[in-house]
Amino acid sequence: MSKAETAEPIESKIEKMEVVGEAERLKKIARKIIGEAEEKAKSLLKEAEKIRKDILEQKRKEGEGEAEKTIRSGMEEADSLKRQRVAEARLKAKQMIIAAREDLINEALEKCKQKLSELTTSKDYGKILGKLVEEGGIGLGGGELEIIVPTKDQKTTIDISSIAKRVEKETGNKTTINMAQGKLRSIGGVVVRKSDGSIVIDNTFDARIERVLRDIRMQTAKVLFE
């Protein structure tokens, strides 16, 4: 601040000194100069105090705003993480039940294969095999047919001529059925084919299981879980 701003012009002060005694006048001028300076200093400090309050208020507001934002986003994130974990657990629990169901269906299928395997040594197996040959023969439309059975079942008695007659009757085509040589790996059942090998119907148990697997699964689930 310049001198001109702190006090009135020197000439004016000196002029006033003429009115009273110089010492008194000097004191008066000094008091005025100091008084003005004090006022100015007071005003500066008052303004600084106001600025201090403003700064504190502004920083507090900034802090509160940022804190609120932090809390809101942090809480949302934590809630979302919790929801995600619980959802994952629900999914896992659901998968456990699905796996348990699948295990049961597979167990039923395995037992079925075991039963089918046992069936191949039963006295009824010849009839079952005959039925599978007939079904295959009809499916092929009769004609010159060959059948292949698993090596272990080759001693099973099948009434081939009766089956051929039934196929012939069903299809209207003259039918002959011969036992072909060949190795067949299967639990049981039969492969029926045209003698020229042009068409094959795989009526082995394994192939039939594969073909009706979807149906088997549905039926098994129905029996087990409904």
Partner: protein
């Protein structure tokens, strides 16, 4: 116009007083600057504390939610295990019926 007369001593005294006044104002300005600087520091500290408190709150909340989710997930998984186990027990008696049905389907009965 009046003629103004002042002794050199008087002029000197006035200049000294003016210097003193100027010093007072400079001092007040320094104090004011110091007040502002401190206010900025204090304000930053207040702001930092509020933000730190918020982070602490969030951390506590997150911890709480983690514990809740662990417990809920564990309950859900245990329930799932129990249901799976019960399912196996309940259906074991129906397994042979299912095997019969599958066998019939396969042999085309």
């Amino acid at each position: 116009m009046r003629k103004v007369v002042a002794t050199p001593n008087a002029l000197e005294a006035i200049r000294e007083t003016e210097n003193e006044a100027e010093g007072m104002i400079k001092d007040a300005k320094r104090k004011a600057e110091s007040v502002k600087k401190k206010a900025l520091e204090e304000g930053e500290a207040v702001k930092k504390k509020l933000i730190d408190d918020a982070h602490r709150k969030v951390s506590e909340y997150r911890k709480k939610k983690e514990e809740e989710s662990k417990k809920e997930s564990s309950d859900i998984l245990n329930k799932g295990k129990k249901e799976s186990s019960e399912l196996k027990e309940e259906t074991s008696s129906r397994l042979s019926s299912a095997v019969d049905i599958i066998t019939k389907i396969v042999i085309g009965d």
